[in-house]
């Protein structure tokens, strides 16, 4: 198993005739991903690396029964491409494009959320990104720009805000004999479609994932929230890393979201939050493989001895539910989320939606 993409992924490339789109189409096809269609308005009928091009996502969906799309279109048009994919019924929309205005991302985010409904945190459609490297399930499919040669199948789920830092760590994992279920780059923008908690929920629910590596960075408080969520709802071992320990306040460090403002969003705060939640924190990237290997070994020996897991064993059942509950409802007052979160466990189970694959 894996999360979000696998050998059944049927991929549309939006912006396939562009420089980046064409190059990465070739890479994704070479990795074995089933790229079934490309979309560039006005270029319908062409072929790029053997992939048929259509004028619209709707047409591509109708002709190819795709279930996933990846977006390489330039920033001014990227949000519209997300809307187009969502309207055409694409289940998983991965936006690689960097530089999308936050206002546009917010619109696309709420569109996708409205189509999904608030009660389906594992459901579809789902947006990943923007400004992200995409995802790869080793040996099965690659959607985005992650290099295929650094990954290998195995038990570790990887989630990260970064691109090349992810490659660095994934390569170190692979070199240490620690393969991956799926590597997921969620992106470094202030507003993103899939966040750490969504990713943790997915990995927690995935049968093959035994441990999770989470890589955050300065800015916002997604890491602090992830730490809280892990403590309450994740039974699998997690190892965290936070980039930007030496970043000065008030300066944007490359990623639009990577900025310490008003004294909040520092690496020190985030590392402390993980540690307070009992999550091992790597000081430097090269500590990650040993830390996760250790955590996996301990989990396996606990399981052999029949001892209960370190964190709440029942958490997995409610994790998906909680992820739904914490979403601020678009039209309801914020208090609604709190009420839903305190619902008794039995009711939660009954009300839990069927998980889509």
């Amino acid at each position: 198993m894996s999360v979000l993409i696998d050998k059944n992924t049927r991929l549309i490339v939006q912006g396939i005739t562009g420089r980046d789109g064409a190059f990465h189409t070739q890479q994704m096809v070479a990795y074995g991903t089933r790229v079934v269609a490309g979309v560039t308005p006005g270029k319908g009928g062409e072929r790029v690396h053997g992939v048929p091009v259509f004028d619209s996502v709707a047409e591509a969906m109708e002709k190819t029964r795709a279930n996933t799309s990846v977006i390489y279109v330039p920033a001014p048009f990227a949000a519209d491409a997300i809307h187009e994919a969502a309207d055409a019924g694409v289940g998983l929309i991965v936006c690689i494009t960097e530089g999308v205005p936050v206002r546009d991302t917010l619109g696309a985010f709420h569109k996708v959320l409205a189509l999904r409904g608030e009660d389906h945190p594992l459901g579809r459609p789902r947006l990943v990104g923007p400004n992200c490297p995409g995802l790869i399930t080793p040996g099965q499919a690659k959607v985005g720009i992650l290099p295929g040669h650094i990954v290998t199948p195995g038990p570790i789920g990887v989630v990260s805000k970064s691109g090349t830092l992810t490659y660095e760590v994934v390569k170190q994992l692979t070199d240490a004999g620690l393969g991956q279920t799926t590597c997921l780059g969620i992106g470094g923008d202030p507003v993103i479609g899939t966040d750490f908690i969504d990713a943790l929920t997915l990995f927690e629910a995935d049968g093959k994932t035994e441990g999770i590596v989470l890589m955050g960075e300065i800015g916002g408080n997604a890491e602090e929230q992830a730490a809280q969520f892990i403590r309450r709802h994740v039974t699998k071992p997690v190892v965290a890393f936070v980039a930007g320990q030496t970043a000065p306040p008030g300066k944007r460090m490359g990623h639009a979201g990577a900025i310490i403002s008003g004294g909040t969003g520092t690496a020190a705060d985030k590392m402390a939050a993980f540690e307070a939640a009992g999550i091992p924190v790597a000081r430097i990237p090269s500590e990650i493989p040993a830390l996760i290997a250790d955590a996996l070994a301990r989990r396996r020996s606990r399981r052999r001895n029949g001892a209960p897991a370190a964190r709440k064993p029942a958490a997995r059942k409610s994790a998906a539910r909680k992820a739904a509950a914490r979403r601020p409802p678009a039209r309801k007052p914020a208090g609604g989320a709190k009420r839903a979160a305190t619902r008794p466990a039995a009711k939660q189970k009954a009300a839990r939606p069927a998980r889509k694959k």
């Binding site: 980046d20 920033a75 090349t164 830092l165 660095e168 980039a243 970043a247 639009a256 601020p328």
Partner: protein, 379 residues
């Protein structure tokens, strides 16, 4: 992009927010002329992007044009939190009966804009958030937008007087237009002041623009302040590199923001101090590499330079070519350590070794090496 107060006021005025007459001045003479035009008591405010301007002596009242000249001269000579004052705002002074705080900011976690409102205005709102969070009213703006009745209800919770609440509600609706149409990530009025006559005014303007939206706001270009941009920062912007100068002595050129931050952290971890953050991005245009080296050697006190490249989309051979081309035209006077791995690594190694340069594959090893080299240079 963070706007100066005078630029924020310009934006506010465009949307009809009540700001008092005023203009920006670059010299005491200009300040005097503006004060004369205004014809009443003026406030002279240093235009630097730092909090605590008042405490640093950067905000003064002037009752006559001559006094405006003197105050402006004093303030223009100041350096506030390391930032030299190049300009002052000269604006009509207002009598203030009460001060409030009002802002709209993007709430990342809720995926909605957030209104923050407080009767504790005129002070550092982060301080209020820390010491008395209950004194800040928070309200998310739903997707369908901000209704006038919602704005009125909010203001009636904070303003004791209905007429004032109504004025403040109108201000909030306009501020929301500034925030939304203007692609702001923050639009803040602090203080939102009430005069003894009961008029509600925006007496300060703090605006942060979403840089990603610049393509649909061609007018933003004229707000960029060349005086606040170093030569290195300008070159970085022109070449599409992300660059932040730091105080250390080890320059680093990295592809990817996360890896660049992690590289800085690792330099510190092994006992060095990074001289900069520099992300050459995904593409591996040799021109970018040349520009990166130029920025680092020109703008910092680098005693050694590290390249840390993880080739994905970035091709290692392109980076190697960039390094060689750059060194041929302007040799580096400080030690260089290169770490390359990934796409076309072997080709890159060949290009570098033909030029007499070596490269390592391990990030830890490369960082330890560059820290040692920098220390040798110092010793």
């Amino acid at each position: 992009m963070n706007l100066h107060e005078y630029q924020g006021r310009e934006l506010f005025a465009r949307y009809g927010l009540p700001v008092l007459p005023g203009q920006v001045a670059g010299s005491p003479e200009e300040a005097r002329d503006i004060a004369e035009q205004i014809g009443s008591t003026v406030v002279i405010k240093a235009q630097v992007q730092a909090g605590g301007r008042g405490k640093a002596g950067g905000v003064k009242l002037a009752h006559t044009p001559e006094e405006a000249f003197e105050r402006a001269r004093d303030i223009l000579a100041l350096t506030i939190k390391g930032l030299p004052v190049h300009r002052v705002l000269v604006a009509q002074a207002a009598d203030i009966a009460r001060e409030y705080y009002l802002s709209i900011v993007t709430d990342r976690e809720a995926h909605l804009p957030l209104i923050m409102l407080s009767a504790e205005g005129g002070v550092d709102i982060e301080e209020v958030a820390r010491t008395a969070p209950g004194k800040i009213l928070r309200h998310h703006i739903p997707r369908e937008g901000l209704r006038p009745y919602v704005a009125r209800d909010l203001m009636m919770k904070v303003f004791p007087d209905f007429a004032q609440a109504q004025q403040a509600a109108a201000i909030l609706l306009k501020l929301n237009e500034v925030y939304t149409d203007g692609d702001c990530s923050l639009a803040e009025i602090n203080p939102l002041a009430v005069t003894p006559a009961g008029k509600v005014l925006a007496l300060d303007a703090k605006v942060i623009l979403d840089d990603n939206a610049e393509f649909r706001h061609p007018d933003w270009a004229h707000w960029r302040d060349p005086a606040e941009e170093t030569a290195g920062a300008r070159l970085a912007r022109e070449k599409g590199l992300s660059y932040v100068k730091l105080d250390g002595d080890i320059g680093c050129v990295v592809n990817g923001a996360g890896l660049a931050m992690a590289t800085m952290d690792l330099i510190k971890h092994y006992g060095g101090e990074p001289a900069n953050f520099l992300d050459i991005g995904g593409s591996s245009n040799p021109e970018k590499v040349t520009a990166a080296l130029k920025i680092i050697t020109g703008d910092s006190h680098a005693r050694a330079v590290l390249f840390n490249i993880f080739g994905g989309i970035t091709r290692c051979d392109d980076v190697a070519n960039g390094i060689v081309t750059s060194l041929k035209s302007s040799p580096l006077t400080v030690p260089l350590v290169i770490r390359l791995t990934g796409t076309n690594e072997e080709k890159a190694r060949q290009i570098l070794s033909d030029f007499g340069l070596g490269a390592t594959t391990s990030m830890d090893e490369a960082v330890r090496m560059v820290v040692a080299r920098a220390q040798e240079v110092t010793a």
